[in-house]
Amino acid sequence: VNIRSTKTRLAVLLPRSPSRRIALAWSLGVLCIAAATAPAVGISRDESVYLEAAENYAHFWMLAVRSPGKALSLVDRYYAVNREHPGLAKGVYGFTHALLADGLGITGHLQGSRFGAFLFAAVLAGLLSMWGSALAGAWGGSLAPALFFLVPRHFYHAHPAVLDLPETAFWFATAYAYWRSVGGGGDHARSGRWALATGLLFGAAVATKHNGWFLVPLLFGCWLAVALPALLREGPRALSARFPSAFLSMAVFGPLVLFATWPWLWPEPLPRLRDYFAFHLHHENYPWMYLGRLLRDPPFPASYPFVVTALTVPAAILACMCGGLVQSIARIVRSLRGYIEDVSLPTEMLLSANALFPIALIAWPTIPHFGGVKHWMPAMPFLALLGARALVNAGQVLVPRRPSAVTGTLAALALAPAAWQVAHVHPFGTAAWNELAGGAAGAASMGMQRQFWGDNMARVLPVVNGHAAPGARVWFQEATWLAVKEYQRDGRLRGDLAWANGPEDADISIWHYHQEFRDKEFRTWTDFGTARPATGVYLDEVPLVEVYARPGAWR
């Protein structure tokens, strides 16, 4: 009887709609898996800075609750850390850290901050499922999140407390809310609420990272492309009737949310906004390996994001995504030519444009090319959606009597190798390359970027703890001092190990393979009198991290 009543209570808590149940399952699944697999993922350079910023921001908001006046006078002190990016996502990380690590004490410091990142991943999974269900039924809702999160690099981005997956989630959420606001999903009654949500979510997107600003021309372009014939036909008076209220909402709430969640702007809004945009308009170009060339300065090859996408997304998933994109573009073309009528042109436009625009944007030769796939990740959920719909449609067309059997088989064939890759490369997500590249080994032969920003060092920490001489000075090279401090605070790195500024004053050198830094590895050989690593981290035999030690420093 008790079990039954518990089941009944649980059933009441669950959403009634099957699509929402699938979405909830996906959200919870992603949240749990990300939380369980996060400890293996090391701290990257940018994450170490965001972790520091997050705790500062949380302290600010706690002070603001207790003593608003005092908090206002100390804005610069708390928000000076990482003022290159707005404060929303880092604020969330600070909040989860304050709650779970400092308050409840149920997680370590790193996991506490990262819980915010798991939440963003969970939200994205749920939204993907919802939109997938709306486009292609239960199969669509089940497959769309899988096609996104079983890409090893996307799976990796579900863990660190950085800005790219939250930005992807807010971008996707804004597009979803916009779609609903213009009647997508057939629910016209609530379009006003969805328009409001569009503005708020757009605000969250621009309050997370500057990529969000591109949503304005993108969504406007999508609307205009569909509405233009009618506007030309009916004249300017039709504009007021047809203009989506979501754009007004974005215009109002976008800047408001940015301003409200980023206290750094409060003392001098315009000068600081100007500095913020100036920083990103003149962003530094980091050296980056691409097909055997070290890219340092523009013009960068326009092929870069297309080639890297083709070589990092598991091949069968890539086929699904490309097939879905081609299908969507074909539907647009056929609809414009009047061949088919049962196509929602605004939906197809929205999906195709969002699937292509972020990639095309990074292809622009003067835009900095670095950071793997993360800068065009907002495109990938849309490609996953289109891929899921293509799989469902293939089943419906090929065997109309048993479409699920075909869709299920194709999905299994697409997702099984991807899941294998995820399991194989975790936690080295920044070093993941697909089977078309030949994995990490094939990519190394092609002269592609092997990894970036120092997080793969986490794998050698237990060995270093076990072998380093007491009080040894360690040069962590690509890992930041903030990351080292974080590892020590969580007990993952011995506290007696000291920071060294370079191989010349170190006893142990943890060298992260970066082609542009090889001179530092070779100087380590000279300084330590040996080119033989004491240990290393290898992915498919490809060196990622090499640990060198002076005689006597490794026991």
Binding site: L294, R296, P314, A315, A316, L318, A319, C320, G323, A390, L391, N393, A394, V397, L398, V406, L410, A412, L413, A414, A416, P417, A418, W420, Q421, H424, N434, E435, A437, G438, G439, A441, G442, A443, A444, S445, M446, E504, Q515, E516, R518, D519, K520, E521, F522, R523, W525, T526, D527, T530, A531, R532, P533, T535, G536, D540, E541, V542, P543, E546
Partner: protein, 344 residues
Amino acid sequence: VSDRPDYLGPSYMLGTPSEPPPTRAQVWRARARRLLWPPTPEVLAALFAATVTGLGGYGLLFAATLSSRLPSPIDWEAAAALVGRDARPGDIVALAPPWAERAREFLPERLPTRPDVPLVTNSFLDYATEELPGVRRVWLVSLPRAPGYSGDIARELASRSTAIDGPQQLGALQVTRYDLQTPMRPLYFFPDRLSSARVQVGEETCAADAAGGLRCAGTPSLRVAREVREVDFLPRACISVVASSDPARPSAIDFPDVPMGRALRGHTGAAGDGGLGAPVAVRLRVRVDGEEVGELEEHPRSPGWHAFQFDTSRFAGRRLPVSFQLSAVQPTREPICLDAMTLP
């Protein structure tokens, strides 16, 4: 006029030869065209499904076979034991693919029987033009089944070898020994003799520092040392030197007693990120027994390992002092990587 031929008349109706029977390829092409064109939804869905199936199957096959294509620690240990047992002075180890630098973790750094003799493991990309001074034999440790492997390095080594021993299969590794046809045998390799040199900036003599280099008083950035430095992405054992920008006080490295041959050959290159700094050209002058035998200019904006060679045949067979003078056009902190040798 009336004799014009009737073009429609029977005498002009030549019989057309019958069509030859279609070839098998033509039959299949026609069937495929009928099946695929115009592309119906069913055809497109089938193509999509076939692509997903093919790539999914390939992905599974790739993942399932990857570990067997790569060496295990035991394979590396076996290669290390083999090379350690049979290597001799004048041997080096090459890797194919060059990224397989895990080898350094296992292979001996020195000959087990002669701990004073180093056994260098190189990760060069190209052995066709690499000079390999002092090398007589090359042990190639290769991963022939690794993704992205190409046999280029093996072919390049084979093309410059008289004898090839192997390959010996050690699990997923292969070890092959190449005996070079015309090894370059320097009489004197300057970087290895830096400890016997005198380094001066103008009249000031530089003193040895704790790290094994020579530091010049009054100019903290001016240091001369025998180091392995990165030049154009590759490790080069060289004399790392920051050139003085004072024309009256050039940096000079004097080797007192050098066995001379027909040529003095060497290389220069900007070390590390030196090529990315301010474009400061460095001028190198080489003197033998006080007589200038050549000069060159190293432009940091042209990355690479630039070879030079000066004729010293008039000094051949004698032991003479050799001096390298370096001067920068403008002040610079970026080191130049310099190697040089005398050749018989």
